[in-house]
Symmetry: D2
């Protein structure tokens, strides 16, 4: 009964079928295949606007390639201190860009807010002496399972654009956010001012398929050269592209995310008193104490510690294929913990 | 009828089955799964010695990560001028290492030889003023479809080691070389002095699965941090690892390569007079003239030009799933060309 | 009447004389000269221990080369948020190292303290997923003109070494700190656990001469290759080396720093009520209000704003050659401001 | 009697006087001083056109910063195999640019020629798979002491520009070339199509002062940020800038180079039969045999070996301050060698 992360999940049937369909015979390599060539149109339809979409195999690659394309080596990227690019990518943004700097800011729910960003920007005047503000990167849903409303995204992007910064969104769990908000994909991305999006599918049912989606074609620049140079141009691109096509055209993204979000809400309903954050997507953060955590583990539940050592905090992540029985069992166990 | 490259091929049944088998239920991410954890043992059995084996999704990543782990930023890597790392990776070795230099050497059949290497090394004395010799990288089978005999590999590695250089082998087509030589995997790798191997499977039947195999564990160093930092640690590693396990344990590697090599030999037999290189693996290089190339294309054969513009040269690559009918048709067409 | 920075100062007579003495005739380039070859011994005598000392022409180069030699590309360097490496070097540490990360911490007087450092290190467990703690860098005197006592340095270095981190000291104003503490150079460097020192001379009377001093020879590693590769190996090294020799052997370092520190103390004595920090070296930070700052500028005093826009804060830096009349004038003007 | 390199030379009186003049009192740091601010105008007058000129302290920094500003990380720079950037900078261009590739070409006298360059460019079609042609870098005078005529420079720059490449000139010995050609500085630089010049002064009489001169202001781009980030923005810029001003305005450049060139010609006249290259600037390359070399060294002449070990080749470089007695002695010794 694994609640460590949504990357513990399997590949969903629609995407596995797409891999099979793509395996019918020979085709050209390195993206000159009909699946890869269909990505722009498919993502354009998904987002309701013209886009350029590029497939890569990991979210770290998507984020780092997007940022390296957007900012110069001496650029500063403003992020939340909890961001995946800060905490979980071993310095990939720094590596891909040739040494950019991530400037970490605070904010409840792992969300940036415009006043905090404005203060940080005010403190860095143009100068040859220090790294120069170049981009903002926000995560949707956030690393604490929260969801930016369209107007919150817009407030940040308006500020960023006014100061000459580009805006990147890490959408590793974009589908979970879309389902949570019950809005159109456009609403929290380009209509809210996002320039470039790391579009995640792997956590939500793909084998290994992510997209970098540019909403402004002039920002694509040398992305393709950087991708190849980083070893992220797949020779048999069709298999990853076919997954992405199935993901955005079959509704798998929505069904999968809905399942995961519902499981998280169900869990949250059984441990409301201990929640550290409102549960908006597919992650649940609780402070239940170390003894309760040990008890859960003894019952076979797998999950990560959260917070400082000994804090009694834990994170549970629900996946697209989370077994309802496991979810129910966790709910009972958490409820029992609460009443102890 | 595509003969562009073996990356035009599909995924072979054994490996597709392995993906299905690995899709049975949840498991931990980022390589903490039983498939990935079995790689060292499986590759150890394959090579007949203890190894460390790491999965990545592209050959460019395998090569660049291996070289960046072996050499410092100011290191020189001696390679053949035709090498994939020189011609086809958009500077990935330079990028991953922070600026190493590829020193290109000549040699028939895209093969390095020890005397040429010795002369190049003699010309670069130790000094703070220039890049320092750090590694040799050879390709097996070579980019011209030739195969290094074990003793040819050994001659290079002995020289390299005597001069303090590490030895990397780009084995994107290692299986084709093994079948051609009808030798044990050990014979042309660690027994011949290779330190680190890029082990290719994608061209020979995988979806997107390559391994970096270290024959000397002390050279692994910080490989895992570099892989993560480059976005090449797959969150759902099991699917790539499962392919690699199936590849080395089911004999798929040998069956697939044998099919491709046989097709290439068959093609070569029908155009002997125009061959640019002896056909030892699964690639055929010919000089048939531009009119003949145009004629073949008009008949539906796909293949790349070779050599300088207008040279009349062409490359045909046979894949593990090359349709025998297509091969036979190409043979007939080439034979007809020769008699025109 | 410039109080912007001690880099506004001239070259002191002892060092100018050394340049002349070194200009007597031809000598070998790139450091194979008797001045450069004498650096190890001269700095060894200065610090009372065996050292390796390397000349470079800027403090930014000294810091960045030292850090790049000490840490891997995925290394985290713990620094104070006010540190020169963070605020004033345009990302040089990131550039030289291939993407290290500066982790900024707080602390009064721009000083790191061991408990703060311990908390930060506790929050970064060993993992392939994030940048790895690799070094601590502290500035002596600090960017707020404060001075670490030997025991404060030792507390940090003991913690750092216990956690496997190296310790770098940015000694751009080391002489000012030594004079302030009236201690031996050894006391706040190697005896207190510092591994590598950026030894500044430019601010305190040199033309363009800094040293990187290694107190542990095994940490020198590939420093010389990195220096050359960064364009910081001077072909006519003798002129910079001769300055450094004169600086440490003639007592110029002490006389110059004593003059600057005394001027700062004199200034501080005339604006005690507005001081933001105790004045320990040659910098004075005050909050006197924007009108007072404007008044001072109208009288011909040059100095930088400090703090946020409109904070009314200012920084005055006294140089080795600060004209006593200018200092006295500033004192009078500040005193008048206070009584307004 | 040192003939190793012109970097063995002293600082010339005009430039030493300029350092003294610049030492008159305090001034702002980091280039906000009247000497540095005068560079654009002074170099503009020298070259007879509007330029942007930036001071750095080494030729390696000048070359690497210029190239990194001109080309992307995946850019290829076409150079002669003997070029300083290839052989003597420890990979600085690769480092500064984040991994560009130097593509080495042949050519008599260490000179590139247009047909050779054209063939190399023809072999690299636009593609995401390999590094992309981005710039050409030539050295004036060359590393073999030869001098490009204006029309030879123009032939290269016309080809380069037609193919979309920028042109960099390494002018470490530009003054020697100008004196040799007896032409205007404009003739072999911007009028011949050079975009950016590394302007050397150190070898020809400066203490440590080089300039990067942009003849097209739109190519300056982010040069100043890159310079700072590389630790090459001097805090006390005035001393280097004052040298450059004196160098270009007092005629020192011409007098110094004329002296050096004349000494080289004199040497050449005494060993004509052994010359490897025509002597056009201040370097003499000879094949006199190992015994003769040993004999010269026994008489106190210092010089570097050239060519392969045991080739009997040697290089003699004459400096701006070469003692005429030493030159005469070398001439006699060489003449004696010839008649032995």
């Amino acid at each position: 009964m694994l609640f460590y992360s949504d990357n513990n999940a399997t590949v969903c049937p629609e995407l596995l079928a797409a891999i099979h369909d793509a395996n019918a015979g020979p085709t050209l390599g390195y993206g000159d295949d009909r699946w890869t060539e269909a990505l722009d149109a498919a993502f354009g339809a998904f987002f309701g606007t013209e886009v350029r979409a590029f497939v890569v195999s990991t979210g770290t690659a998507a984020n780092a390639l997007a940022l390296a394309t957007l900012v110069p080596p001496y650029g500063a990227v403003y992020v939340h201190d909890e961001a995946h690019v800060v905490r979980d990518e071993c310095g990939a943004p720094e590596f891909f860009s040739g040494g950019l700097r991530l400037v970490s800011l605070g904010g409840a729910g792992a969300m940036l807010d415009a006043p905090t960003l404005a203060r940080a920007l005010d403190a860095t005047p143009p100068s040859v002496h220090t790294v120069q503000p170049a981009a903002v990167s926000i995560t949707q849903a956030t690393e604490l399972g929260r969801v930016y409303r369209p107007e919150a995204v817009a407030a940040l992007t308006q500020l960023a654009h006014a100061r000459g910064l580009h805006v990147h969104m890490d959408g590793a769990r974009l589908a979970n956010a879309l389902v949570a908000l019950d809005c159109e994909p456009a609403d929290i991305t380009w209509k809210a001012g996002v320039d470039v999006l790391s579009f995640g599918a792997t956590k939500n049912g793909a084998l290994a398929a992510e997209a970098v989606v540019f909403f402004r074609s002039e920002l694509v620049r040398d992305f393709e050269l950087r991708r190849k140079r980083a070893g992220h141009l797949l020779s048999k691109s069709r298999y990853a592209s076919a997954q992405l096509l199935a993901y955005v055209t079959t509704g798998a993204w929505r069904r999968n995310a809905a399942h995961a979000n519902a499981a998280a809400r169900e869990i949250a309903a059984h441990c409301e008193a201990t929640l550290l954050e409102p549960v908006e997507a597919n992650e649940v953060f609780v402070r239940i104490g170390e003894p309760a955590k040990a008890a859960l583990r003894a019952q076979g539940f797998g999950f990560y510690d959260w917070g400082a050592a000994g804090s009694g905090e834990a994170r549970f992540v629900a996946s697209w294929d989370q077994d309802p029985a496991a979810t129910a069992a966790l709910c009972r166990a958490l409820a029992a913990t609460a009443t102890t």
